[in-house]
């Protein structure tokens, strides 16, 4: 019976590992989107830092355009129509879910804010700003 439990758990873990091999990564980083590794036309998630001064809101509707990038200079444009999460801001992480078109534009139907692991009061945060 011990062997049975052991075999059962090992098989479960093995299957879980097999099933997850493709799916362990939650989103594509900007360099993989730019290099064309991310599939076109399929529903995927991609994420990066919201590039400073890249947010453009439409005057007519909720459409918003922005760019997501990494520190190495890979960026890709995103278009989204809907409400943004409270923590969505320039210089902060965001994850978009939707499809990438042939021109490299990401059509998002969901935007999530990825916050970092730093916690500090606002007054201190001002001191930490470079300028």
């Amino acid at each position: 019976m011990v062997i049975f439990v052991m075999l059962g758990s090992v098989v479960t873990l093995g299957l879980a590992y097999y099933a997850m091999q493709q799916n362990l990564e939650f989103f594509y980083l900007p360099d993989r989107v730019v290099s064309g590794e991310a599939p076109i036309g399929k529903t995927i998630r991609a994420g990066g830092m919201v590039v400073t001064d890249s947010i453009e809101r439409s005057d007519a509707d909720l459409t918003v355009r922005f760019e997501l990038g990494d520190l190495e200079g890979s960026t890709f444009p995103v278009v989204y129509a809907g409400l943004l999460p409270n923590l969505f801001a320039e210089g902060q992480g965001a994850i978009v879910s939707g499809t990438l078109d042939e021109q490299g534009l990401f059509h998002a139907d969901q935007v999530l804010a990825k916050h970092d692991e730093n916690y500090m009061p606002p007054e201190l945060a001002e001191l930490h700003q470079p300028e």
């Binding site: 019976m1 011990v2 439990v5 052991m6 758990s9 090992v10 873990l13 879980a16 799916n23 362990l24 990564e25 939650f26 989103f27 594509y28 980083l29 994420g47 943004l84 999460p85 409270n86 923590l87 969505f88 801001a89 902060q92 994850i95 969901q110 935007v111 999530l112 804010a113 990825k114 916050h115 970092d116 692991e117 730093n118 916690y119 500090m120 009061p121 606002p122 007054e123 201190l124 945060a125």
Partner: protein, 248 residues
Amino acid sequence: MNWFRQTFHRMGSPPYFYRGARKWITGLYIVGLALLVVGTIWGIGFTPADRLQGDSFRIIYFHVPTAHLSQLIYIAVAVAGFVFLVWRMKMADVFMVSAIWLGAWLTAFALFSGIVWGIPTWGTGWVWDARTTSVLVQLFLFIGLIALRGAIPNSQRAALAVSVLAIVGVLNIPIIKYSVDWFTTLHQPASIQIGEPIAIDLAMLWPLLINSLGLYAVAAGVILSHMRIHVLRRERDSEWVAKSLLTK
């Protein structure tokens, strides 16, 4: 070393444990609850709001202690499983039965508080990233241990099965811990890591440490009280139980 061996052997003796644990339980509850009250009031009322998250970051004072402790309990159950497999120690089984329930509840609460935290910050309560999924796996492991324990009538064989599953499942612990470093996740990486500066401002850190300590003490009290009840039930036919109950 001699002292350790002696304590280890004594803890394996049900009557010794039954008498000895009593003093500890009251102390653990008093200290633990006092710390939790102080930590909670301090955390909610007297820490500054976060620069980005505002007040919603305060869920950290409940989310982190429960999540961390639930993993610690899993590791402790696996160690007890190992002790049971090697030495067939009765008390190791008693510990496992008592701890898996608390582990399941704490994991569930960690997930729940994570959902509550995710809604205002991430913009969603749940995603299937490596961190959230591996913690959900831990909840299923605890539920599996409880079910396995209950499904086998012979308590010796049940304890064997629980030990083996607990030990195999411990593989999930490093996956939970490093999921945020190994893979891209929505969950942020750890703020407190050995060998790295703490990424939480000191004014916000104290209540977190106090609440964690308080929760550990209360949890130890809960597990010890459960264990005493289990010991009584198991040894109900023995002489020392009759004696200790009649003299009260």
